[in-house]
């Protein structure tokens, strides 16, 4: 980080402010709405939404069926959703199949269910390696999978986003839905981690 005199603003900050002020001037957007969206993504939307979906699917077989058939409709039952996602396809991990999600071209991600994606999801390295050597990449990310497990990689695009339904960890038979939801991480729902107790 440079510690030069800070009477210069980063060009990106200048550009952002300029675009905002021009769009406000043109009557296209309203700064209060921009504030609201920032707060929404910073405070209200995040992986906890997806974790509730997963925990419910683990405890309610009928819900799970509906989730696998139509992800968005099932998420809407829990009050999750938004105009940003048209179709959500939920892929279930099993003992023999592990699913992982990538957006090879940019950063498509189910925002209303998981919030904004982590930095690494948008990186060139993740996006290119996940479709070339997922087993190696997952191992480097802390998820060594047994060689007997098939890895399916799903390419998230604007029309269709994916959510991984991780395996329910053993020893959680007595857990409530809420306790289960607390175990489910964002990374497990992208498919780069497992849920553990």
């Amino acid at each position: 980080m440079d510690n030069h005199s800070s009477n210069e603003k980063p060009w990106q900050a200048v550009r952002t402010e300029a675009v905002e002020s021009l769009l406000v001037e043109l009557g296209v957007i309203d700064s209060a709405r921009v504030d609201e969206i920032v707060r929404h993504y910073e405070e209200k939307v995040g992986p906890k939404g997806g974790a509730r979906v997963v925990a419910k699917a683990w405890t309610d077989q009928e819900f799970k069926k509906r989730l696998l058939a139509d992800g968005l409709a099932a998420c809407a039952e829990l009050g999750l959703g938004g105009p940003e996602t048209e179709k959500l396809h939920v892929v279930e991990n099993t003992a023999s199949v592990h699913n992982a999600v990538v957006c090879t071209l940019c950063s498509c991600y189910p925002w209303p269910i998981l919030g904004v994606p982590p930095a690494w999801y948008k990186s060139s390295a993740y996006r290119s390696r996940m479709v070339r050597e997922p087993r190696k990449l997952l191992t480097e990310m802390g998820l060594p999978l047994d060689p007997s497990v098939e890895i399916r990689v799903w390419d998230s695009v604007s029309e269709i986003r994916y959510l991984v339904l991780p395996e329910r960890p053993e020893g959680t038979e007595s857990f409530t839905e809420e306790q289960l939801a607390d175990l489910v991480t964002r990374d497990a729902m992208i498919g780069v981690a497992k849920v553990t107790v």
Partner: protein
């Protein structure tokens, strides 16, 4: 960021990144463009950066593409580069003449201490090609994995 797999503590790396993210959503809500239009331009921007040997290694590289894409769409919707440059100049002017008496938005930005590159002339250069057709890449009736690494 030292480790690209590190988990960031907040949703956005900088205040301007959060703001530019929200502006895109607000403008799409208002119907200035569709989020899919934005995505097409973002894909082109990221693709051009990577094709030129650059890489998206951290949040800031990613949001650079984001803000450049927003600039492109705004220009396509009638905000001329000249107009944008004039507003930017007045923002810089206000910022440097104020130093410590910042506008509330500036408080955060002042902490960024990033290099100010002379990007004013270059931001529109790389959006002419690489229009990856989103429809080529689009969903089929039954989704299929893009890659399968078989069990051994």
């Amino acid at each position: 960021m030292n480790n690209m797999f590190e988990t960031a503590p907040s949703a956005f790396p900088t205040p301007w990144a959060a703001r530019s993210f929200a502006i895109v959503n607000a403008a799409a809500e208002a119907g200035l463009f569709d989020l899919k239009d934005f995505q097409r331009v973002l894909i082109a921007s990221i693709g051009a950066k990577e094709a030129a040997g650059g890489c998206i290694g951290d949040e800031s590289a990613y949001y650079d593409c984001w803000i450049e894409s927003l600039s492109v769409l705004v220009r396509e919707r009638g905000v001329t580069p000249m107009k944008l440059a004039v507003v930017e100049a007045s923002i810089r002017e206000r910022f440097s003449s104020r130093h410590s008496h910042h506008h509330p938005h500036d408080d955060h930005d002042a902490h960024d201490h990033e290099h100010v590159h002379g990007h004013a002339h270059s931001q529109y250069e790389h959006h002419h090609s690489h229009e990856h057709g989103v429809s080529d890449h689009a969903a089929e009736e039954t989704p299929r994995p893009i890659y399968i690494e078989q069990a051994r």
